[in-house]
């Protein structure tokens, strides 16, 4: 009886594996990654000194900004980097997108007034389950 149970389990397992392989082969799976913009160099961010670093030096370090804002009477350079990871299996898929942002606020004299930097892409995960949060 025990032998029969083991054989039954083995048969069911084999069928399940064959079915999964067939499903994957029929409809497939994919893991795709995409980036927009260059990664923001954290060492360069640490080198930005308030009241010392000039607008020209910021542009030399990071290149031209993706966007120039004017907020609360200050000029702001905005740098962005997007990372996206798509997981697709059979009939379900999920695309997660996150961004790193660097804002450099300048004084009217063109010196760095403040730096706001955040990195979200380092905890971006491949996921396929689309349900729930």
């Amino acid at each position: 009886m025990h032998t029969f149970d083991c054989r039954t389990i083995l048969e069911h397992s084999t069928r399940a594996i064959v079915l999964v392989v067939w499903l994957l082969n029929s409809w497939g799976c994919a893991f795709i990654r995409g980036n927009v913009g260059d990664e923001i160099n954290e060492v360069s961010v640490a080198n930005l000194k308030k009241g010392t670093t000039t607008r020209g030096e910021v542009a030399a370090m990071f290149g031209a900004p993706d966007e120039i804002l004017h907020a609360a009477g200050r000029e702001v350079f905005h740098y962005r980097h997007f990372d996206g990871k798509l997981g697709y299996v059979l009939i379900i898929s999920r695309l997660n997108v996150k961004s790193d942002n660097l804002y450099v606020l300048f004084t009217p004299e063109g010196m760095v007034h403040d730096v706001v930097y955040g990195k979200r892409t380092d905890n971006l995960a491949f996921q396929v389950w689309p349900f729930g949060e």
Binding site: L23, S26, P130, F131
Partner: protein, 137 residues
């Protein structure tokens, strides 16, 4: 006979499922009310907000005040191709697709006074009501 019927039903179910697609697109992480409990109007600084929540997705000015906006977006899409079921009997099946996508945006906005202290903050929530639904009519 029962096994044959099970095989037919299983195959039909697989083909029916093969015609479904559940897709979700999430941009950024959802900010919960618990995550912003540390913010006290008139006390918390912009540096403390950035340390906890990271850099905002958007920065803007409102008069002399500075506004940070954190955004979260989600799209849920369900697509059902009823034509896939016909592939059991027909070599070429027509596409009979019903599909719908729903997108919602959440935003958390913080306003700082010229000293960099939180003046006010607010949530906008539109993603909770998003759901998978293939009915386009």
């Amino acid at each position: 006979m029962t096994m044959f019927m099970n095989l037919i039903a299983g195959t039909a179910l697989l083909f029916a499922l093969s015609g479904c697609e559940f897709r979700k697109v999430a941009i950024n992480d959802l900010i919960s009310p618990q995550q912003i409990e540390f913010i006290e109007v008139g006390k918390t600084t912009s540096s403390e907000v950035v340390a906890q929540l990271g850099a905002p997705d958007e920065m803007a000015g409102a008069g002399v005040d500075l506004v940070f906006r954190y955004q979260y977006a989600v799209t849920k899409m369900l697509r059902v191709d009823f034509g896939r079921i016909l592939q059991i009997w027909m070599p070429v099946a027509p596409a009979m697709i019903l599909s719908r996508g729903e997108t919602g945006f959440d935003a958390f906005q913080v306003v700082f006074d010229p000293r960099g202290i939180v003046r006010e903050h607010a949530f906008t929530k539109h993603t909770r009501s998003r759901r998978f639904n293939f009915w386009p009519f």
